[in-house]
């Protein structure tokens, strides 16, 4: 089995199933932190998929986008945490 077939038939389906599972949690999540952590997890899986895709197409430029996604994931999580604390302060 060549490397190209291995991406298509083994790795990408596993990552796709994990995206679906996390997305179910994103839709179900009873509280806001649940949804935020599911979003964070979705972005992390997207970084993995981008890495696989760059190997598949032999283009290393896609890894820059992966770096950008890592930054956005961190900023989004921190901003949501700050927002949740501020909102609870305003309610009191």
């Amino acid at each position: 089995m060549s490397l190209q077939e291995y991406y298509n038939y083994v790795i990408l389906p596993i990552l796709g199933i994990s995206v679906i599972l996390v997305f179910i949690r994103f839709l179900k999540g009873p509280s806001i932190p649940d949804r935020v952590i599911a979003l964070d997890m979705l972005i992390l899986i997207a970084i993995g998929i981008i890495a696989i895709y760059s190997m598949q197409n032999d283009q290393s430029t896609f890894l820059d986008i992966a770096m950008l996604f890592a930054l956005i994931a961190f900023l989004g999580t921190v901003a949501f945490a700050y927002f949740l604390i501020q909102r609870s302060k305003n309610d009191e």
Binding site: R25, D34, I37, M41
Partner: protein, 135 residues
């Protein structure tokens, strides 16, 4: 040929770790457990996949990019998880029913959200001192 086998093994391990994380995110009963899971296994799986990309390209520019992404994720995932869990605790998100001991109970100032350290607990923490007076 050797590097192809190495790439296959590392990619498979990484994607299996990510799959296990996704299953845990779906099935764990509590917000705190879910955050705890995502900050550990997902970073390991991602690190393995990115390292396999570095082995595939065998290029200095790609390797530096991969190492910087891995370092960034290893530094920021625990910080983001900690901040999110702290805010979830302050907004009183539901805990799991089987959780018996809550060590942080009464250790936070309710207004300023400041953590009392252990040696300052007796003098300053208002909740415990009031309870002692009542007894």
């Amino acid at each position: 040929m050797m590097s192809e086998i190495l790439i296959m093994i590392m990619m498979t391990l990484g994607s299996l770790f990510i799959l296990s994380t996704a299953v845990a995110v779906l099935t764990k009963p509590d917000v705190y457990m879910r955050i705890n899971i995502t900050t550990k296994t997902a970073t390991l799986g991602l690190g393995l996949i990115l390292l396999s990309a570095a082995i595939y390209f065998q290029d200095y520019s790609v390797t530096t990019r991969v190492v910087s992404i891995i370092l960034f994720i290893f530094l920021t995932a625990p910080i983001g998880g900690h901040m999110l869990m702290r805010s979830a605790y302050f907004t009183k998100t539901e805990k799991w029913k089987g959780m018996k001991i809550d060590d942080l109970d009464g250790q936070y100032d309710p207004i300023t959200k400041e953590l009392y350290s252990e040696d300052r607990k007796e003098g300053i923490s208002p909740k415990t001192s009031e309870e002692n007076e009542n007894q």
